[in-house]
Symmetry: C2
Subunit: 233 residues, 2 copies
């Protein structure tokens, strides 16, 4: 009905609807900023083509740009954009139930553990959510999640200051549907706090130029001991 909205919707859709642009957006989905050249490489296109795409994405407000010398750094403009892309990926995964899915090595690692803007996803993300739920630390459902009093104590003991994450509200634990596992993992400020803490502890590390995350040997032991998670290498 409201043609103006449908037009805007179509506009955003068609921006994401190009393979090259979708590849660039996917590459930016871990929240870091990349240069125009890096993004061109990600999308396997020439710099001049990428430049055009990036200009469009920026004009539409999906990307933010920052100049640093002769490099132009692009990142997702907001968490809102990241949420949108995540929700689109969920639909991709859910509706194409059994498409031909070439199980490349990088895909396999992505399924195992990856960053999802500012929190963890994949088998690792879901395992963590399960472990916290099993211990009665969080209460997850499709509509929302909350940290229990027991959970506050437990997380504090682990080194995460729950109160600092969100001083006022009791609900800062958003469930986020995992496109590979098709189950919920923990997003929101707790998700971010959890991921940050695991990075700080050296339990997990990023793989260069990718959203893939690897669990270190220390992390393996830590996850086993703290959360009873047996993460496959």
């Amino acid at each position: 009905m409201t043609t103006v909205n449908a037009m805007n919707l179509a506009e955003v859709g068609s921006l994401v609807g190009d393979v090259a642009r979708a590849q660039m957006l996917t590459a930016l989905l871990d929240g870091r900023a990349l240069t125009a050249g890096e993004l061109a490489w990600c999308a396997r296109i020439t710099p001049q083509t990428a430049s055009g795409h990036l200009a469009k994405l920026q004009a539409a407000g999906l990307l933010a740009m920052e100049k640093q010398g002769r490099h132009h750094y692009f990142r997702l403009a907001s968490r809102t954009v990241a949420n949108m892309l995540e929700s689109m990926q969920v639909v991709c995964a859910v509706d194409a139930p059994r498409r031909i899915r070439p199980e490349s090595r990088i895909d396999k690692e992505m399924r195992l553990a990856r960053s999802c803007y500012d929190h963890l996803a994949g088998v690792l993300g879901v395992s963590l959510a399960d472990a916290l739920a099993r211990q009665g630390a969080v209460d997850l459902s499709a509509d929302g999640g909350m940290v229990t009093d027991k959970g506050r104590a437990l997380l504090a003991g682990f080194g995460i200051d729950v109160d600092a994450l969100d001083a006022r509200k009791r609900c800062f634990c958003r469930p986020c549907l995992d496109w590979s596992e098709r189950r919920h993992h923990i997003a929101g400020s707790l998700g971010k706090g959890l991921a940050d803490h695991l990075f700080d502890l050296g339990w997990i590390t990023r793989v260069k130029d990718s959203r893939v995350i690897r669990v270190t040997p220390t992390g393996q032991r830590g996850l086993e001991k703290t959360f009873a998670i047996d993460h496959p290498a």
Copy 2:
């Protein structure tokens, strides 16, 4: 990186990225099922063109179809799809901060009150969320929302059986960013329960062939008395 994902993402994007298809999806966003002909009319295209679009959307799993005599009824395939479209609309509204926005009458009414798949949005939706938060019935934040014990009692008194909405979990109150108000309203099972109850009471009614919702005179008085909401006519 993972080319397979980016391709799927682009696929979904380009499906939404066509103006005609976007209009049809927007029309279906209130959760009802419409016939192919009605959808063609919504998108201002001929039936044969619409048929092609609908076939694509169905093949991709965005729409579900049900035959009834010679009519083919289409609806959004899942809540997941509705969530995706909502999150895309939020991005539309947020990024184009001050686009030329022709304030048509229908747009004005949409901003005032509309259905959002299965719950309420617009000024009305946000007012309700505000009122419930002000009374300490719910606890909303960007990451999640929960109903307090006080809220359970209050809603029960109003005629909504909170326990029946979700027997186990305490969090069934999802915040949903309103694209017109740019603030949160209440979604999730509580959002649906609330909307359903207001329809049952006859406080609100749907406007034919649109997502617009009107508050009845009875509703005006009821909202004023129960929630201290002064909804403009």
